[in-house]
Symmetry: none
Subunit: 287 residues, 2 copies
DNA sequence: AAATTTTACGTAAATTTTTTACAAAACGTG
DNA sequence: CACGTTTTGTAAAAAATTTACGTAAAATTT
């Protein structure tokens, strides 16, 4: 989160001296990041340790670390802020807010993701002789989407949003099968069971879920992203989008790994759709 | 100018040891800004003054100042001017590019959308006695997602990704039924047929598709967004995400229209999921 | 309202980090 | 090969940051 906003937000929870520091920084943040702790202390008319304590209160390691954070938030051109929808918002307001907070979450997600793990996931997927995508509830749409993408690669793909089918499929796993599980919380019992089953039957299990969750513990590989779920609206929103983008990333990694020849394949799949399309005039069957 | 770029640009004009420093920083800039000069020197296998001289060569006052500059240029983001994924991109590069281009597309979409039409769509949806979401191919995932969202509103919801079922459902439409069709191109013949059928049977037809497409012509209301589809990769990517966000927007408009009392309902749906969740310990069934 | 505990703040010392000064090594050049 | 130049490292100095601790102020209790 933006450090500068954070400061003005916490302004009341600061002590008297700490607020003096906060005000000096808010008044001239550019000056603040180029000052030493001594200079800043003098400007705020407080002692140096007070400045240091101020920094610690904002979850930084110390003064230099704080300056780093501040510098980043100053540079941050991100016009994307996570804003919450409010009761009295009109269509204009809530549309803008939802788009923007989605973009903000994607930005977060991008920064929090480990590309080394992505690469490993792509490794695993390219070597799979069958890929299964499982998701329940809101994540089932993600699983379907993944199926749609990977199907184009001419790899055997399975997708279930039904626990019983998942279990059957998991039990029949063999080595070389890869099971990808989507779950934002990673705490859905049934899905954790499925992960264990698949694992016990020699499948490689990849979890797109939150780190340290029960589901994560059952996976061979966990891809987690830092996406704060919108708690005020009781629906999964941004987490789902982030997962979809992650699917795009993996699909892209997949095609890149397979090389140029492979991309011809994709084109063929796309061309095969043309017969079912209308052209601009609206009636000619073949484009 | 971007410090990171500056480093890679000046790479040849550095001396042997300085280049070692440059390479270490380029390899892991995030690590670099959180390290002391001593740590960085050890990583680059050079002496501390060498690191300091390196910083000065890049027109900074010293090491701390350099870290500040670097932090800013990292926060500034978009080191990737070219948004298209290229053959030789590594996981880092293509991950960043896909996230960034997705965000850029959402930004476009937001600016191109007509909130008046969104408001009208919400009007229609709140008055529906049944909502059907239809989508084929990549858009079927969007339809599923919409079903998942609107299902929580305790409204009769239907979702099909199968042409035959769609037709049957469309034929059985009555007044008060709302049919929402997802299609990026708006040129899928079967879907255009379904739209006409539904319309002929007194359903209200909403199309989430591109303006002026054959599908758009069959709809009572068209929500279109300006999302340039990635033509070099043969997969729908950003268009789909934009549609999903649009679903979020409509769902949000829906809840706002229904008011506070209604939001209790959402909470109840969410609470009902708790029994199937594991808590932090991993085994307690009821939260 | 006084006493006691808690919290906030500053002084001074310790530590860490960065910078400077200088010398040795490497490099190129006549 | 000797000279000058540039580059690099060592060690010491300087600067900056952090810690430890004591006092003052505020809050809480009696």
């Amino acid at each position: 989160m933006n450090t500068l906003d954070k400061i003005s937000k916490h302004l009341n929870s600061f002590s008297k001296s700490e607020r003096k520091v906060a005000e000096v920084i808010l008044a001239a943040p550019q000056t603040a990041i180029h000052s030493s702790i001594a200079t800043l202390a003098k400007m705020a008319d407080v002692s140096e340790p007070t400045v240091n304590r101020f920094c610690r209160r904002l979850d930084t390691k110390g003064f230099p670390d704080f300056k780093l954070h501040l510098a980043q938030s100053l540079a941050n051109g991100t016009p994307y802020v996570n804003r919450h929808v409010e009761e009295q918002d009109g269509p204009d307001a809530y549309t803008a807010k939802i788009f923007e907070s989605t973009m903000a979450c994607l930005d977060n997600a991008r920064q929090s993701i480990d590309t080394v793990l992505i690469n490993r996931a792509v490794d695993i997927l390219t070597q799979a002789n069958q890929i299964s995508f499982f998701g329940l509830g809101a994540s089932s749409a993600v699983a379907h989407d993944a199926q749609n993408k990977f199907f184009r690669f001419n790899v055997p793909v399975i997708c279930f949003d039904d626990v019983v089918m998942m279990r059957m499929s998991a039990i029949n796993s063999t080595e070389g099968n890869v099971v990808v599980l989507f779950s934002h919380t990673g705490r859905t019992k049934h899905l954790v069971d499925v992960a264990r089953l698949a694992r016990e039957n020699d499948a490689t299990v990849i979890g797109i879920t939150s780190a340290d969750s029960p589901l994560a513990q059952e996976c061979h590989l966990v891809l987690s992203m830092d996406v704060p779920e919108d708690t005020d609206v009781y629906m999964p929103m941004a987490s789902r989008i982030a997962q979809l983008v992650l699917v795009d990333v993996m699909a892209t990694g997949f095609t890149l790994r397979r090389g140029n020849k492979f991309r011809e394949n994709l084109k063929r799949v796309k061309d095969s759709l043309k017969d079912s399309r209308l052209n601009k005039d609206g009636f000619n069957a073949v484009l």
